[in-house]
């Protein structure tokens, strides 16, 4: 992961972990705060803040002394979120080019299997 130092780092960590979960690179155990901090070369408190945010969003849960774990169903939920995001962007791009939603639907149907 390449860190963009001109944007909040904790948000980039949230994004990175979400991507790792949705790709299936992380199935159950999320790296410990210390391990990820050393891997990325960032302050452990920044990683901890990212984990707290993901806990708040219901993606992971933390157990004292046992680490942080991916909650059941998170992978599907995150995949769905990401697909929605990509489709949203795709439709927005095409509508800004002057296409109507009807025309976009027509184009999508033309995609080969």
């Amino acid at each position: 992961m390449e860190i963009d130092k001109s944007k909040p780092i904790w948000r980039q960590i949230v994004q990175e972990i979400k991507e790792r979960i949705s790709r299936g690179d992380i199935e159950k155990g999320v790296p410990t705060v210390r391990a990820l901090a050393e891997e990325l070369g960032v302050n452990p408190n920044t990683v901890a803040r990212a984990y707290r945010e993901m806990e708040r969003e219901g993606i992971v849960e933390s157990w004292v002394g046992k680490g942080t774990w991916v909650k059941k169903g998170s992978r599907d939920k995150l995949k769905e979120e990401m697909v929605d995001e990509v489709i949203g962007g795709f439709v927005k791009n095409l509508t800004s080019m002057g296409l109507s939603k009807k025309e976009i639907k027509k184009l999508v149907r033309k995609i080969d299997d």
Partner: protein, 229 residues
């Protein structure tokens, strides 16, 4: 906790530190950033008790800087030690004997991590290895507060990452770190909070991620663009 109120230090009519108010919570990792001569070293020396303030007040965990607090604070000086005739491991053992909070496991871990030769004369070490030796001396204690004065100064870019990783490895929860530097880009991801100094004053002070959001800039860009205006 470190509490600084209206701190002033004047050297020969020059305000090295010009009325600084500052609170640093326990467990914070703070970057103290500014050009040479901005007052960073003077502030660290005042916190450690190397010199006395002209006026103002410093309280560290409720106590004033001085001999009593030295057991709680570990200081990394920018200048080199004068014990050049000693061998590295002998110097480490000798230094360790002064501190009851010496952590032998940390010492071994850091020596290994930095690949420091144990039986070479300090005089024959490169500048980078001498800096790593100083870091072993500073970081192998279980002190509460670590004051690091320009640990990246004179270090070539290739070795900086190794030094930064070593510091990250040594950092434990509840320990407070203040890391002064004028080389910002390599170290800024370590700083939970960044304090920018210029001409003895604090110009900008905030959580690094909040400053990134506010300015849309890295700490390095803020340093280069906002401090030199």
């Amino acid at each position: 906790m470190i509490e600084v109120k209206k701190l002033v230090k004047i050297y020969d009519d020059v305000y090295a530190v010009n009325s600084i108010d500052l609170t640093i919570e326990e467990g914070a990792f703070v970057g103290l950033v500014g050009p040479n001569g901005s007052g960073k070293t003077t502030l660290l020396k005042l916190l450690f008790g190397f010199c006395r303030p002209t006026s103002g007040d410093i309280k560290i965990n409720g106590k004033s800087p001085g001999v009593e607090l030295r057991s709680e604070i570990s200081f990394y000086p920018e200048c080199d030690s004068t014990y050049h005739w000693m061998k590295t491991q002998d110097l480490i053992n000798w230094y360790a004997s002064f501190f009851s909070d010496w952590n032998k496991d940390k010492e071994k871990e850091l020596i290994g991590f930095f690949d420091l030769p144990r039986h070479r004369c300090v005089a024959h070490l490169s500048k980078g290895l001498r800096a790593k030796l100083k870091l072993v001396l500073t970081l192998s204690r279980d002190a509460k507060i670590f004051l690091l004065d320009e640990p990246l100064s004179g270090i070539d870019p290739a070795s900086r990452a190794n030094i930064i990783s070593g510091i990250l490895k040594a950092y434990r929860a509840k320990q407070t770190f203040i890391f002064s530097t004028h080389i910002v880009s390599d170290a800024e991801t370590l700083f939970e909070r960044t304090i920018f100094m210029k001409e003895g004053n604090i110009i900008i002070d905030g959580k690094s991620d909040a400053l990134r959001e506010e300015y849309g800039k890295s700490m390095d860009q803020i340093f280069k663009e906002e401090l030199y205006e």
